[in-house]
């Protein structure tokens, strides 16, 4: 079956959720990714929405992360105070999924401004729950398309800390979660070196060259010793994306 780069990215990201028990679902791509994981290989994955829902079984793919379909049939619906304090801050969330307008080689994420904070060239939406998701989830997955505007040597503003200056910088600040573990893009998957915490390419999507990846990253990117080839999306995954989750192709075309 043919598939788009976006479909591959979504399926690859969903597979990163295998074995996870509780995922914090962010707006946009993470939303479709988490719903795909639940409907394919991880039926017991508990979806937590910052809007105040635990154990959602959305009957349709919600456009927003506060849609009524995430409430009906959920295990629990609560105020955001409970959600942030007793679920997220309590340490119950295994995986937090974040998007990024800019991301640097240590996985620090900017969703606040392009340019200077006080006089921005582009004003972005801001943190939402990302600043706390980044420090409170056991681990973080990032999903975003690969291009030079996004993958920059240094983000203009750290909205959500990744590995900060690299190495054990995060540990020194007593940050609770382990930070970004993988960055899933439409061209490749990147992970972080054990020691320096620098981002490196660990898997190339089928038919994507190293040169193509480097062209879309704003620094001299490292490649892992054994770069794998990302597994193509399965027929089941593609059917779920096309028939159930994103029939209009908003996210996946």
């Amino acid at each position: 079956m043919n598939y788009s780069q976006n479909e591959l990215m979504i399926a690859a990201a969903a597979r990163e959720l295998q074995g996870a028990r509780v995922a914090f679902v962010g707006v946009g791509l993470p939303n479709i990714v988490c719903n795909l994981a639940q409907r394919s290989h991880s039926p017991n994955l508990e979806l937590v929405y910052e809007a105040g829902v635990f154990g959602a079984h959305p009957a349709r793919l919600p456009l927003s992360i506060g849609d009524p379909t995430i409430v009906t049939g959920a295990v629990g619906a609560m105020g955001m105070s409970d959600l942030f304090q007793f679920y997220l801050q309590r340490g119950l969330i295994d995986v937090g999924f974040l998007g990024a307008a800019q991301i640097d080689q240590y996985g620090n994420i900017n969703t606040t401004v392009i340019g200077d904070y006080k006089k921005p060239k582009v004003r972005l939406p801001g943190s939402g729950g990302a600043a706390e998701i980044a420090v409170l989830c056991e681990k973080i997955l990032v999903i975003t398309r690969l291009n030079k505007r996004a993958f920059v040597p240094r983000v203009d503003f750290i909205t959500s800390p990744g590995h900060l200056g690299g190495g054990d910088a995060r540990k020194k600040l007593n940050v609770r979660g382990r930070g970004p573990e993988a960055v899933i893009t439409d061209l490749c998957i990147l992970r972080f070196a054990e020691d320096t915490r620098e981002m490196m390419v660990t898997s190339l999507h089928p038919n994507v060259t190293r040169e193509k990846v480097q062209e879309n990253i704003g620094w001299q990117v490292r490649f892992a010793e054994n770069v794998e080839t990302t597994e193509a999306p399965s027929e089941q995954e593609l059917q779920l994306i096309r028939d159930e989750l994103d029939p209009k192709g908003l996210y996946s075309r």
Binding site: S64, G66, P68, G79, S81, K121, V122, S127, G129, T159
Partner: protein, 303 residues
């Protein structure tokens, strides 16, 4: 003594120029009816608080009623950016916009501190983020129990909170199901509270299920009955989110001229929400959900 009044009178009497206002509701129960009435009455210099300014504050910013925004996520959820908000921040159009920016948890904590009349509220966030540099109100304090620091935020106490709910009685005792967001905290944090409901019910309905009461009439100044008052957001069990409108807004709001034309037609050109509902009626038909009733529970009669 009934607190039921019209939206016109509630906004006229309880919202003043220069006030700090919270029209809350996280995706759910966003009271567009109140926002439109504020625009219609041309209130001025408002400080608007909300976790997600959403298209409701985008409309108010475009209409020029807003001086300052206290917020944590200024996007059109699932769609993209807020265009009027961007024009205000990037180009000072139609006027400059002051920003006081937090994360969601930070805003929740600010309302919590405000509602509980605490001098600050601690939270594990902001470590490693540039937000505390951008907003000096986000501060760090030590713990008296261990060598440990934690960020705190100050209380948020709006002059007025406007909160939509499924139902209330005439005293303002309001019940909500589905996402309750920060409706409770925003209500208790504020000096004055306007509750806007889909349905006015007898006090007995409220008293038959006291666990669902989110806002007590004790802190409510006015009750406004405004069916479909939350459209294009939604009311759990009553009508769906109008996702198509959220997508359309991206087009409407790309240019100030089209946005202003929309405001002229849908806000200034109408006398109130009843007109809006009438004009929008065909659209509502596709927004009615099927039924999914909760199992009835028994509180027991104890005499």
């Amino acid at each position: 003594m009934s607190k039921v009044i019209s939206m016109h009178d509630a906004i006229r009497d309880l919202v003043h120029d220069g006030d700090t206002i919270a029209i809350e509701g996280f995706t759910h129960l966003i009271c567009f009816a109140a926002a439109h009435e504020i625009i219609r009455q041309r209130k001025n210099d408002l400080t608007l608080c909300r976790l997600t300014p959403d298209i409701i504050y985008d409309q108010m910013i475009a209409a020029g009623v807003c001086k300052k925004l206290v917020f944590s996520y200024a996007g059109n959820p699932g769609v993209g950016s807020l265009q009027a908000f961007r024009r205000a921040v990037e180009k000072n159009e139609p006027r400059a916009l002051e920003l006081e920016e937090y994360s969601h948890f930070g805003m929740v904590a600010r309302y919590l501190a405000g509602a509980a009349r605490l001098p600050f509220y601690p939270l594990h966030s902001y470590t490693g983020s540039d937000l505390p540099k951008a907003n000096p109100q986000i501060r760090e304090i030590g713990s008296p129990y261990a060598d440990e620091k934690i960020y705190v935020v100050p209380p948020l106490n709006p002059d007025v909170a406007i909160l939509h709910a499924q139902r209330a009685d005439e005293n303002g005792n309001a019940q909500i199901w589905g996402l309750t967001g920060v409706q409770k905290e925003a209500a208790f944090a504020s000096e004055r509270v306007i509750v806007v409901v889909e349905e006015l019910v007898d006090e007995r309905v409220i008293r038959a299920d006291p666990n669902r009461t989110i806002i007590p009439g004790l802190i409510v100044n006015a009750v406004v009955v405004e069916p479909y008052g939350a459209h294009p957001s939604y009311v759990q069990g009553m009508y769906d989110r109008d996702n198509a409108f959220y997508v359309e807004w991206d087009t409407i709001s790309r240019e100030a001229s089209t946005l202003n034309a929309w405001l002229d037609e849908w806000v200034h050109g109408l006398s109130g929400r009843a007109d809006y509902v009438e004009k929008m009626r065909a659209r509502f038909e596709s927004l009615h959900p099927g039924n999914a009733f909760a199992e009835p529970i028994n509180y027991g009669e104890y005499k």
